[in-house]
Amino acid sequence: MRAFFGVLLALAIGALFWWGMQTKDERSELPSALAGRPAPTFDLELLPSSREVWGERLNLSDYLGKKPIILNFWASWCYPACYEEAPILEATWRRWKDRVLFVGVNTQDELDAAEKFIEQFGISFPNVYDPRGKVGIDYGMYGVPETFAISVEGRVLERFAGTISAEKLESMIREVLP
């Protein structure tokens, strides 16, 4: 009887370990409460470098329903992750800008440092300035960088946390293309 309980206990502990080992890295797999839900909108000032082409402010609801959107949260202090993905974002944006809109949300940053970052990587898609990081909370963001794919219907389809690769970004775009 005692041996039976011992085996049962060992099996239970083994199962617990197995379950723990199966759990993937939660950084990029964290559940998004927004999956399938309408993308929260915002109306924020654009960074000075974006104003010439995109105007003073960007209201996301003006663009929802027109094109799929890739929304990327970043900050100049987010090193090296944001620095690694910035050239990937810019190159991908240049390839897809006729069909997809990229919007950067500079979060909890200093304006000068953010501008320097934009200049360093020659970023040409619009970037809004969110010094408080309010939009990040609306999107249930855990930390920069984070990227969201929004369908042409204005729904959040996917969320990726961490440095995004060119392959992942391309697959997110293909998912949101109508």
Binding site: Q108, R132, G133
Partner: protein
Amino acid sequence: MRRWLWILVFALGLAGAQTVGNEPPPDLPPKVFEIAKKLRCPVCRGESAAESNAGVTEEMRRQIAEMLAEGKTEDEIIQYFVDRYTEWILYEPPKRGLGLVVWLAPVIGLGLFGFGLYSYLRATSRRAAELEGVSDEELARAEAELGRDDEGGPPS
């Protein structure tokens, strides 16, 4: 004696510093921290939104303060964060579903430990009782045999 006095003063100083560190800064009402304590820091995980100094938790506290000023209730504020982060954002897991396992695990563990301890003690006392039942004559004979084994046994 003087040394002990210094140690006491130092310990009290540390305790005081700790108390001061846990108090909310004057620009936010204590209720903000009361609610923030129930929410998890999204970046640091192990800390609540009240303890953490991460930028995101600073903004969470600011939003809680704004919502309180708007007259929102504690439940409404917590729901606001759950809507954005799922129940993962709750610092204490909910007492249902998978969260219930977290709450029950220590109780089950304690129960198993108690059962193991009880089984061990019962077995020990049973062995002691069995020994009590052995007569002096039998004990003497056993000891004599053991002694003979020691003498006659092969050298170790």
